[in-house]
Each structure stands twice: as C-alpha cells, then as structure tokens.
Symmetry: C2
Subunit: 140 residues, 2 copies
Amino acid sequence: MSSAAERKSAKALRRAKPAGKPRKRTRDGLKIRVEFGASGFIGPGKIALLELIATHGSIRSAGKEMGMSYRRAWMLVDETNGIFKAPVVEKQMGGQGGGGARLSPLGEEVVRRFRSIETAAAAAAEPDMHGLRLLLAKGR
Amino acid sequence: MSSAAERKSAKALRRAKPAGKPRKRTRDGLKIRVEFGASGFIGPGKIALLELIATHGSIRSAGKEMGMSYRRAWMLVDETNGIFKAPVVEKQMGGQGGGGARLSPLGEEVVRRFRSIETAAAAAAEPDMHGLRLLLAKGR
C-alpha cells in the first residue's frame, strides 16, 4: 500500500504532463503486459486509466488526462471488464453531477496485482538489466 | 545454458508454425519489453529474430520464418545494432553462399540476458499471476 503522500506525489507527476499530449517513448526499464490467452491482456495503458478513474471518479476525465477520447477510454474499460468475472469499473450512483465511475473491489485488486507484478519483475530482472546497460552505446 | 536437446526442441516448435503467418495473439503470461530510454528497446520480436539468425546464419531466412520481408528484418537488426556499443549481428565471411550473418558475442549476451529476464520476471510474478487468473471470466 502506498502512503497518502506517495499517492499525492504520483498524482502531481501525472498532472505535470500536459493533458492530451501522448507520452514520450523514452522510458527506461521493463514494460510489462499480462496476457490471458484469448481473454485479452492488461498493460500499462489500461492500468493507468483505471488508476485515473479511481482518482477522478470519471471515465471521461481519466481518458482526457491520458489524451484519449471518451469513446476510446470507454472501450478500454469495456474491454477490461470483459476479461474478468465481474466488472473492474462500476457506475457510481448519486454524488456530484448525478454519478460517475469508480473501481470495483475486483478492479482495485487487478490494479494492485499488476503494479505488484511490475515491482517484483523489475527487482528480479535487475542483475541482467545491469548487465545489459553495460553493453549500451555511449552518448545517447 | 540450454542443452542441445532443448535447443532442438525449441527449433522444432518454431518450425511447426507455418512460415509467413503472423503469430496468433493468444499467449498466456508476461510479455516483456526492455526499454533503454531514447536508445530504443528490445522485445520478444527482435530477440526471436536474433535467435533465428543464430540458427539459420542468415537475416533473410530468419525474417522469412517470422513472416517478414528481408527489408523489415534488416531494419530490426540495424535498429538493434544501434542500441549497443558493438553490433549484435555481424557478417560472416566465407562459408556456403559466400557469407551470411551470425550473432556477435555481444549479441549472444543480449539474447541470453533478455531470456533470463523473462524467466526471472515470470517466476517473481507467479503469486500475483495466480491471483489474477482466479479473477478471470470463465469459459474463454
């Protein structure tokens, strides 16, 4: 579990990126996708969207922050809902604006386990990542 | 290091797929890409291509087995060569047909470390993968 301060910091980081601008592909480290055969997959994009839905309580706002249309965000949620035995995102009745969206307990577990996989995989890969970095061309 | 029998078996598996046909996206488990910031990345496609170059001694034959044009295979090799401080694939002088291609020692290390990362990451992820599989919809 991350602390409130960590969550706030992560949120600030995400907010620091201009909305509507695609992320630059200059990440460093492992990029992981979890594939479930014919059922589909979850990856960094879907998981980030779910986290933003949890933050904003809205699929539209979450999608907007990732620079995607409401339609695209909704389709990714629908696709992810279809993978699991219950929806990962559920409609929230009442509240401001007459309702929004939130993660179901199952959705929260999916996000938590995906982030846990990323962390565990990165730690397990570190010796070989170090070895690979020693082989990189200089001056990039 | 894999045994000769394991290598032969892996080769037979690859050969069992009809050449020129794209792989079906029904894998199960982690799919990993290793990103090196602005330098680029290595993933399952580039690594499989390098392994096939080692097997066939030819970029053209390796690409053909993966259903890609010589130009596409050559570009992927060139892109991968550019990431590291020395080429991963080098021209082989002489031999049948007047030369082919083979992995450099650095190329062999890149392939070995990538496959090692996949294995270590999958093992580290197993508890959460098990948890996620329990959440999947039935009957897919």
